[in-house]
């Protein structure tokens, strides 16, 4: 595994996307150059004692030497983070965790299904960026410029909470939306949309990559088993250290308790004991 770095990174921007959601970018080439989709960083949101612990955020996008995260103002820590200004320096540790396992496909025609619930879009855009990079050289001629063999399902409570639709489309992904209240797209959970999709498109040899709330991931695991399509899911658990030392963030798996920050955050869905 690569080296983990702790550094003071210059904050480039910290701007509201919509509602409670913000994009924050820091200049951290040493981490940006090696980070993989699904990995995360631990941010010390303030130098004081409150908030005390670092906060984990997925790498959302990499542009040159900049790491971007997408976050929701959720509690005190993210509130304080949202007040931080450009030019300030942010103490970050990363890249952390294992990341998604997305092997280059010889043919480049295997469909990748990305399923995001709420904030779960955060690591999946970075995955889409890298899938695109991988696929481009695989496809010959004109085809390469057009479509990415990736289908993205985004679930949100209402249409107002849909995130990153444009980002995924710009990367060439096909995007389908599910909202709980039916204000856009499919009415219902994104996991139900997934079932619908799986019964209409050819998903042989597909892989599902999912991130979102636990109940959603549990449902994805069930669907993945039923349709016999492997799923990689990114889990969240409260963390103290983020570097594998405290054993605080464990999840129960078929191999015993495993650390979300080290063996995860991405797990094979079939390994998790819910």
């Amino acid at each position: 595994m690569g080296k983990i770095l702790q550094l003071k990174a210059k904050l480039i921007y910290n701007k509201r996307v919509s509602g409670r959601y913000l994009h924050l970018a820091v200049e951290a080439p040493k981490i940006a150059n090696v980070a993989k989709p699904g990995q995360f960083i631990e941010v010390r949101v303030s130098d004081g004692l409150e908030p005390f612990l670092r906060r984990p955020f997925s790498v959302h996008s990499i542009r040159g030497g900049q790491i971007e995260i997408l976050y929701e103002v959720f509690g005190r820590g993210t509130e304080v983070l949202s007040q931080r200004k450009p030019e300030e320096s942010l103490d970050i540790i990363g890249p952390l965790g294992n990341g998604f396992d997305y092997k280059p496909q010889a043919t480049g025609h295997r469909l990748q299904v990305l399923v995001a619930g709420g904030m779960g879009v955060a690591p999946l855009t970075f995955l889409a960026e890298r899938l695109k990079k991988l696929q481009a050289p695989c496809l010959s001629g004109r085809q390469a410029s057009s479509k990415l063999q990736a289908l993205v399902l985004i679930g949100a409570k209402t249409k107002k909470e849909i995130l990153c639709e444009k980002e995924f489309q710009n990367l060439g992904c096909e995007v389908k939306i599910a909202t709980d209240d039916g204000s856009r797209g499919f009415k219902g959970y994104v996991s139900n949309l997934l079932i619908k999709v799986l019964s209409t498109v050819d998903c042989r040899q597909s892989t599902i990559y999912a991130c979102g709330p636990k109940p959603m991931l549990k449902e994805i695991a069930r669907v993945s088993k039923k349709y016999n399509i492997p799923a990689q899911i990114s889990l969240e658990e409260h963390m103290a250290c983020g570097i594998g030392a405290c054993l605080g963030c464990v999840v129960n798996t078929k191999n015993g308790y495993q650390r979300v920050c080290k063996e995860g955050p991405v797990f094979d869905a079939e390994k998790i004991i819910w």
Partner: protein
């Protein structure tokens, strides 16, 4: 000016008085990327039990004002895996390794663990964790379980180090089977720390480590459930520092064996308080989570403080509290 940083604890000679606390530094390898591990005075391992332990149900941690609660439940791979998988890595660092041990069932487990560790040259000292709030101690099995109104049972979690007699017995029995430096780690969850510290000393402990976590609890007002699965856990971090300092000061006056002080150290200033109150060495716990290289920064900080104040040797600072 050359500053003296070496200290002695029992037979153990440390090149500086800064170590890292059990359970907060993994098995050291987790911190390799952040610092030169060789700079540390010593490393204390996560507490090891004879058999592997799965640990407690998650969620196991939550943040508190200037601190955190944990109920890891001594998850560890057990003695054999520790010796085969972790020790070889620790050994390579080349600094004193202090192995923390605990018993799950009977006090005899301490003796058996010690017998094994006694044979391993690289084990510089043994730390008896008789103060973990997150497992049932041998004593508590004889206590009646108190049924609460909630869906969980609150068991009283009596710790060995809450009873001077039990402390004496355990330390004494371990003392009989080891010539290595023996450190006894005590709980702050007691009325009179000096009584327990004196018992550990009387039984032959070379040193006491103070403090383990303070038992605490947090409630989620939305779900009206405890924030961690085990309901109660150990509070650590700056929130407990004044309690730790007070106990070290009390113990220092009565117990004339070295004290390893810990509880909420996050920088040089907080580390220095401990020496002045009476600690011979210090240990950094939760501080490692906030800044993984804080321990080496503190070593440098202590040196600077000594030079600035024209103190030739750290030992002059120990217990130098003025009236």
């Amino acid at each position: 000016m050359k500053t003296g940083l070496t200290i002695n604890i029992g037979k153990l000679k440390l090149k500086n008085p800064v170590m890292v606390a059990s359970g907060t530094f993994g098995y050291a390898e987790e911190f390799r990327d952040f610092m030169d591990l060789r700079k540390l005075g010593a490393v204390v391992t996560k507490t090891i039990t004879l058999n592997p332990r799965k640990g407690n149900l998650p969620p196991r941690t939550c943040e508190t004002p200037a601190g955190m609660l944990n109920s890891i439940g001594l998850e560890n791979p057990g003695l054999e895996a520790f010796i085969n998988e972790k020790l070889p890595i620790l050994r390579k660092i080349g600094i004193p390794i202090i192995v923390s041990i605990a018993s799950e069932d009977t006090p005899e487990e301490f003796i058996e663990l010690t017998r094994h560790l006694e044979k391993i040259k690289e084990v510089a000292a043994i730390e008896l964790n008789i103060s973990c709030p997150n497992i049932k101690s041998p004593q508590s099995t004889v206590q009646s379980r108190q049924k609460s109104r909630g869906p969980w049972t609150v068991d009283r979690r009596q710790m060995i180090s809450q009873d001077p007699k039990a402390t004496y017995e355990v330390v004494k029995s371990v003392r009989k089977v080891t010539n290595k430096t023996l450190i006894t780690k005590l709980s702050p969850n007691v009325t009179d720390i000096t009584e327990i510290a004196l018992a550990a000393k009387a039984a032959g402990s070379d040193c006491i480590a103070l403090v383990n976590t303070i038992t605490g609890m947090c409630v989620d007002i939305e779900t009206r459930r405890p924030k961690i699965a085990a309901a109660t856990g150990g509070l650590s971090g700056p929130a407990i520092r004044p309690v730790a300092i007070r106990m070290i000061w009390e113990a220092y006056q009565k117990v004339k064996i070295p004290i390893i002080g810990m509880g909420g150290i996050i920088d040089t200033l907080s580390a220095l308080e401990f020496f002045i109150a009476g600690a011979t060495a210090i240990s950094i716990g939760t501080g490692n989570f906030i800044n993984p290289k804080v321990s080496v920064e503190i070593i440098e900080g202590i040196k600077k403080y000594l030079v600035k104040n024209k103190i030739k040797d750290i030992k002059e600072l120990v217990g130098s509290l003025k009236e």
